[in-house]
Symmetry: C2
Subunit: 450 residues, 2 copies
């Protein structure tokens, strides 16, 4: 039952386009969902993609445009006139339209907005453009169904039906006063079961969750998830109802956030996909690698200062990657757990207690690993006792320091208002490499003396 | 407007419990949302938490139980009798009830199910327990609103209202035939605007997205996200409507998946939170560290075989952490991009083309870094030309190999049906450390000769 894109399907469409068989093409795509049309367009050449967008009705293409990969969409929009883009925007919800417009150049923006015929729609889009894209204001749409608290249930049914025509999905009906201040909500279920004689003020629920236009998107997601909401109203500084955020937009937002965090942890600094251009991928990957390279320079320098050890205790250098790897891994583990705690707001207790806990945890892990290291070192690698002791003691020390850095840095960054996700991946592995090596050789110097 | 938990609030509740002021406690918690009650319970001692669960009405506590942290819930359930648990389950949706029951021991399961009074509810729960928890069957609930295609719109309104009483939120009304086979759906919006004289078969939409009970949860999430669905019906092998999955359950599922992937990438093998016990955290963190330790042993051995280089070219060893770090970082970057492509099903083209692309990308990154390395090495570290060349050539080679491993391994694991997320984090950094060092010294041996 699921739509399945295939090479044959794409080729068939290419043929229809090339031979200009528009009627067949229209018929063929008539029952295809806009998300599937987007999937097809992603596979086409730019000219063919533009052809399809121009051919199909804009009620359908406006939705398909939203589902396209960003770079594909950008190139198609470059091929459309301001008037054609405006036509697409007329058929979009205000939040989607604002997203599209914000991708255009300043000059093009003006031009496109000027071409939108529906004055109110244009005003709404302009309003949405004012908000930060990751805030509730940037995520909300203007489309919603609202009724005045002073109306009667029967009296507002007609009005509501008219409003519902413009709203893709009715989640809640919001109740406002004469000044448009949010007072409460009505669910569709309530309406199904309410007496038609009642007054709105008798039946509406006063207790309604809402967010402010400036509320951060992650906080909106947390509230909607916690209270299982499918839509949340957004109010301005004066408590006036200005928009609503629906769960599908929040799902997309959550997914993008999760991908961004994951990529940040993997040392990728821009939102990229496997199919992006090599140049785009390089721009996303090279910065962290340069950082790691400079970190490498520091570790070269640190190791250079211990070159006197090479004469008698050359084998110490063989254990450098082992120590560095343990420091990096432990640091990433600690920082990942702290980061998730920060994101979920589930991090309780003081920083001091948390660091104490990390020390205990590291001691436990460290001793287990030290025993394995001594056994492995003596039996498999044939180390002598003092040497084995040096490496083991260093390992425990390195694990403790690495876990403290991994715990401390994200918490402090978060307190300073910097995204703590910065403190994971390459950053933590690089700094822990350096500290790990420094600690290792310092301890070796004390125990072995060189 | 948002509920904000505080030390004072928790203390106030503790006092009310200790002094046995039940009436005040009930009054105080009356208007508190169940998700907020769960937040409060997470902060309480076990005895106090159990006290609140027993005191409050089970319509409220059943919902609060679902929002609790898993280990807190487990301990509370241990304190409740089978009858008390059964009472909570009676008030839960079937999917939640099945989740709770599956956390109990086999013996307790039987006992609790036997105590559920509503026979149909018990049957539904037992049915849900049969499915894998990450499949559509394991995610769905039995609660839904359905109508027969042969009914008239007016005739089914009463029936629908009765059904809607048992369903927290009505998303779609599903249309089935006499054999309960899914035929289509009706939206509430359609009902708002439909003529009451029409027949169901005249007004319903035939084109309905659905999934099979065995569909994987990630696939369900992908479909719901792609088509912006708020609920999706689930059918069995014979196309009969057996349940539905709502968007809030899928949001929770997506979040858990994202956390699991993130933790896997960070070398954490069990679902843990910062506030779990040290033993639990050790169990999650130690396995990957042990793997990294064994990887370390291998790199010690590899380095040991090149010990003849130490006499004349000791400085080679100073660059080991730099080379290993670059190999690790590049590998993690490549694998992360491939993993996200696999998860989004956006990975197109052949494996061979993908590997070619990685080679080109690595050449670009590698040359940029090699130039930086030569400049930095000669000016800051005072290397001679041949030595600088050795390290630079090795760096380019290591970056190419590391990115190929990072790309190849997850794709192959995925083809073999193994979770490709295994192939990131510690696994990729450890193996790339070893390969990186091996390549580095082999190239050094060729250029410098030792």
């Amino acid at each position: 039952m699921q739509f399945q894109i295939s090479q044959e399907l794409v080729e068939h469409i290419c043929n229809l386009i090339e031979e200009g068989r528009d009627d067949e093409l229209l018929l063929y795509l008539e029952d295809v969902h806009h998300a599937d049309i987007a999937e097809i367009i992603n596979e086409l050449e730019l000219d063919q993609a533009t052809y399809i967008i121009k051919l199909l009705d804009s009620t359908k293409t406006s939705e398909a445009l939203m589902e396209l990969e960003e770079d594909v969409r950008e190139r198609i929009l470059d091929n459309l006139s301001a008037k054609e883009i405006a036509e697409e925007l007329e058929n979009m919800d205000t939040d989607d339209a604002a997203d599209i417009i914000s991708e255009l150049s300043e000059e093009r923006k003006q031009e496109v907005i000027g071409q939108i015929i529906d004055e109110e729609h244009a005003e709404h889009i302009v309003e949405l453009l004012r908000y930060d894209e990751d805030s509730a204001g940037g995520l909300m749409a203007k489309e919603l169904v609202k009724v005045n608290e002073n109306w009667s249930v029967t009296g507002c049914m007609a009005e509501m039906r008219a409003q519902a025509e413009n709203v893709t999905r009715v989640h809640s009906i919001y109740v406002v006063d004469d000044k448009n201040k949010l007072k409460g909500r009505l669910s569709l279920k309530d309406l199904l079961t309410a007496s038609s004689k009642a007054n709105i003020s008798d039946v509406y629920i006063e207790n309604v969750d809402y967010v402010n236009v400036h509320t951060d998107g992650e906080e909106v997601a947390r509230i909607m998830r916690k209270y299982d909401l499918e839509a949340i109203p957004v109010v301005d500084e004066m408590g006036r109802l200005v928009g609503r955020i629906t769960v599908d937009d929040i799902m997309d937002f959550m997914r993008e956030e999760a991908e961004r965090d994951y990529q940040m942890a993997a040392g990728i600094s821009e939102d990229v996909e496997a199919d992006d251009s090599i140049l785009h991928l390089t721009r996303a990957r090279l910065p962290w690698l340069v950082l790691a390279l400079f970190g490498g320079f520091i570790s070269v320098t640190v190791l250079g200062t211990f070159d006197t050890a090479m004469q008698e205790h050359g084998a110490l250098f063989f254990f450098v990657p082992l120590i560095a790897a343990m420091a990096g891994n432990v640091g990433v583990q600690s920082s990942a757990i702290v980061l998730q705690g920060l994101a979920n707001k589930s991090l309780r207790g003081s920083l001091f207690n948390r660091l104490i806990k990390e020390v205990l945890l590291s001691l436990l892990n460290g001793f287990a690993l030290a025993i394995l290291l001594i056994l492995g070192g003596i039996f498999f690698l044939g180390l002598d006792f003092w040497f084995g002791l040096t490496v083991s003691v260093s390992l425990v020390a390195v694990i403790i320091i690495a876990s403290l850095i991994g715990t401390f840095v994200p918490i402090v960054l978060d307190k300073w208002g910097i995204d703590p996700a910065m403190a994971t991946g390459p950053f933590i592995t690089t700094s822990n490499d350096i500290f790990g090596i420094l600690i290792y050789f310092t301890i070796a110097k004390v125990i072995l003396g060189f």
